[in-house]
Symmetry: C2
Subunit: 365 residues, 2 copies
């Protein structure tokens, strides 16, 4: 806990230059406790002359770097973040870093509070799954203040931070292409997507294809939906928008109802692509409610691979994100940034796997 | 951030009484930075005379309360802790408290590191699922230093801390009693239990029944096993120890193998009680591997209710712990302790529910 940055003066040196005690210097630079205006000035000038930013001094005064990484998860009740945390913790621990975790509930406001809390706890850097990819003023401020930030799962537009993501669009395209290749012509999608009109979706698709829109700065369900459209286009099969079941809020009950409607209606799909683990569980539950069989009456591929998918019926074919690896990679990038070794920010995109099981077969005649 | 406890002296008063500067008093009581032995003595004596415990002064010196609760989970990859965290966060947030979470991986050493990390981050109190119920020196030290501690899921023997648990033994007894009442005479149990001989188990049972052993200070699988024994005794059905499948390490693959052996052997059980969610998943997977049907060829009741259990086959009957409520209650106890309103430590035991689904029927003839 007393690690010093090489080639940098200690708080004692700053205090000496200012002609005050070490604890006074610490108080001034840490911005707590009493010190006269005159002393404040002296200490700050000494700190400047020694080339230190006040915040770093204050932080390093007592224990050097705090050797702590702060993490903001979108939803710690999701196995997704649990897997990522596993990876972060393992790498951090090996390097002698502690990890403290907070939760944003996918709310920009709570995320901003969480970042404030973590910075108040003097973490050395932040690993964040940004809940809002546009403004994110709190993250921009943190970056401006010199806090290293690594983003996971998605990125804030134009934020000067590193990132670890997967290619959601390509993985979804591959999954849907497999359903189409099995002979399905009516492939539905169940996804948490805020409503957009067909013309808005066409426009979005055009923007993405022109390279003007970074899909990593979208909530991951969107690139997955784009992958669904891609696969149809590649196969020359028009998308029937009646097969697109959108879920406004992230609710299992609502998703279950939507699937029941989709499967009971006149234009029933013969296959379904579910865009995350909760959607897959909801779809499978709805199918069970209706007494239909998988894959006999409905083929399914899900995004995100959960434990029960390996033993449910003949198994559910699923896209597996490399969760632990995402976490490990994010932690390594963070350590790299804290070490100061590499200057360029890195954006890493990891591959996802399609785990083949027994939930896909040719459509019934 | 400058909240003061009513009716207590400030650090300034301690310093004044000791005849030293406030920052020197803070340094001594916070245990950092230099101070001569003579000064240390003076400051500590003043603190004692004013009735303060040193750490609290040091902590309140800089920013008063930090309005943060630190949580140590046993395994954040488990839905169990995720549910508890949800409850803690919701209550804490409403009271204007932030929550930071760390993980012990059920290791006493890592738990000790986590506690150190959280106290270094100046949390106001700790909510912990103790990974080790005997020594736990780091928790005893925290309590001695005046840090309020609330334990969840299990308790450290004789620790002066509050607790929120469920009655694991009663809930397991109820579940196994239901299997016995359905007519099963050969009810197996799959549980993560370190090995003990039958005579050791008999001795443990005798100790528990004599009231000399607090089952809350055991890893929860043990009281669940005791509940399994209770139910047999109440029904007057002898326990066949060949039906007790122990899992030394917490591994799904090993549990799956054990169940496969149990079900393929000559003395196959007609029903199975699985003592946690991972054990239930492993058992169900093993049953699927063997092509057996639930409940036709094997009845099952699991401890812990996971999402897939509601839609797997005819549904898996399961004991549901009130996870969110455990977390909410723990947070409320913590706020109560921090508020200083109630002096007595509270040990709350919440009821669990048995969610009846379609995995139990009479044994095949």
């Amino acid at each position: 806990m007393t690690e010093k940055r090489r080639g940098k003066a200690t708080i004692t040196e700053v205090a000496k230059l200012a002609g005050v005690s070490t604890s006074t210097a610490g108080r001034v630079l840490g911005d707590y406790g009493y010190a006269s205006e005159e002393i404040r000035l002296k200490v700050r000038r000494s700190a400047e002359r020694l080339g230190y930013r006040p915040n770093q001094i204050a932080r390093s005064m007592i224990t050097g770097r705090t050797r702590t990484i702060g993490v903001v998860a979108g939803d710690i009740q999701s196995p997704f973040y649990a897997g990522i945390m596993r990876g972060i913790s393992d790498v951090a621990r090996q390097a002698g870093f502690g990890v403290i975790l907070t939760n944003s509930d996918e709310s920009a406001e709570l995320e901003s509070e969480a970042v404030k809390l973590l910075l108040g706890k003097q973490v050395d850097g932040l690993i964040v799954a940004p809940s809002e990819m546009g403004d994110a003023a709190h993250l921009r401020r943190a970056v401006r203040d010199g806090i290293p930030v690594v983003q996971v799962d998605r990125v804030v537009k134009g934020l000067k931070a590193a990132s670890v993501t997967i290619d959601n669009r390509a993985a979804a395209r591959q999954a849907v292409a497999m359903l189409l290749a099995a002979g399905h012509r009516r492939v539905g999608i169940l996804a948490e997507l805020e409503h957009r009109s067909r013309s808005e979706i066409r426009e979005l698709m055009a923007q993405v294809r022109s390279g003007n829109t970074d899909v990593r700065a979208m909530f991951p369900t969107w690139p997955r939906f784009l992958g669904y459209l891609d696969a149809h286009e590649e196969a020359g099969i028009p998308v029937d928008f009646d097969l697109v079941a959108r879920v406004g809020t992230y609710s299992s009950a609502q998703a279950r109802r939507l699937v029941a409607e989709l499967l009971s209606g006149p234009s029933r799909p013969s296959a379904l692509f579910t865009a995350d683990g909760l959607m897959t569980a909801s779809a499978v539950a709805a199918v069970a409610d209706l007494g239909l069989s998988i894959p006999g009456e409905l083929s399914i591929i899900g995004f995100d691979d959960l434990d029960w998918m390996s033993f449910y019926g003949r198994g559910i074919t699923a896209v597996a994100q490399p969760l632990t690896e995402i976490g490990e990679t994010a932690a390594r990038l963070m350590l790299e940034m804290l070490g100061g070794g590499r200057k360029a920010l890195r954006d890493l995109v990891l591959p996802a796997a399609l785990n083949l099981r027994g939930s896909v077969e040719a459509p019934p005649r």
